[in-house]
């Protein structure tokens, strides 16, 4: 699977997650304050340029990892989703 094919799969996943939160918000309007900003960021992230940059950053970091053997971890909340 090429990078472009991968990004083409991620775009509907990001938009679908935003749509899913929209449907949750419709059922529970009291959640709108919490969900609206997250929905906006999800829709903004569903952009081929942003995803391409993330892939590029990831590949560069993996190359560095292979060269140095040094882990460089971060705590990222989406990893526990």
């Amino acid at each position: 699977m090429t990078q472009d094919q991968l990004i083409a799969k991620w775009l509907p996943a990001l938009s679908g997650l935003a749509d899913f939160f929209e449907s949750l918000k419709a059922q529970h309007p009291d959640l709108a304050t919490q969900l609206d900003p997250k929905i906006a960021v999800l829709r903004a992230t569903a952009d081929p340029v942003i995803l391409s940059n993330a892939v590029g950053a990831g590949l560069a970091e993996l190359q560095r990892l292979l060269e140095t053997g040094t882990l460089d971890p971060r705590f990222k909340p989406s990893d526990l989703a």
Binding site: L6, K9, W10, P12, A13, L14, G16, L17, F20, F21, S23, L24, Q34, K38, V41, L42, T45, I50, L51, A54, V55, A57, G58, E61, L62, R64, L65, T68, G69, T70, L71, D72, P73, R74, F75, K76, P77, S78, D79, L80, A81
Partner: protein
């Protein structure tokens, strides 16, 4: 499925080899890179149209953040009403600020499996995930996941409240 497990084990073995590499004395250990969490939530499954609520779940999640943007992730969920077990394992790329411990969006690919047809998927899936800490001073996270089956197009959505048992401790926090 066996091939995937073998690849995952090889990846973990490579990670372990980095931890004992002689030139790794200034880097983080594998344990520093690990995040673990447990919690509860719900899952919705569908094939086209609006996905239907399937079950409430008890969940356990783990991740190894090997670089700022790249993580290996895995999770298992138990259906409280239907008594199924489903799980997944794969990689994830962070598309937002990797130094923000309170909010993140990631995309990736995972191999999913389930003990009950209809309560998940048994194939590789493209994923988008979101996690955020809604209340400062409280450690729990709210998470959401969308997974789209690469072969069948089946859709899976899950939301959960996760209590981190351990956070990755490298890099800027």
């Amino acid at each position: 499925m066996q091939g995937f497990v073998v690849k995952l084990l090889i990846a973990l073995a490579l990670l372990a080899s980095y931890a004992v590499a002689p030139d790794d004395c200034d880097g983080a250990s594998v344990w520093d890179a690990v995040s673990l969490g447990v919690g509860g939530g719900g899952v919705w499954v569908g094939e086209g149209g609006v996905p239907g609520f399937r079950d409430a779940e008890a969940v356990a999640r783990g991740a190894a953040s090997i670089t700022p943007h790249v993580s290996l992730v895995a999770g298992a969920s138990y259906g409280v009403d239907r008594s199924y077990v489903r799980g997944s394992g794969g990689f994830r790329l962070t598309a937002t600020d990797v130094n923000n411990p309170d909010f993140g969006i990631g995309v990736g690919v995972s191999r999913h499996w389930t003990s009950e047809d209809g309560s998940g998927m048994d194939e590789a899936a493209a994923e988008a995930a979101i996690g955020w800490k809604p209340l400062p001073g409280r450690s729990f996270l709210l998470t959401g996941l969308a997974a789209y089956g690469i072969d069948t197009g089946r859709q899976l959505f899950s939301v959960a409240v996760i209590f981190p048992l351990k956070k990755a401790s490298g890099g800027a926090q």
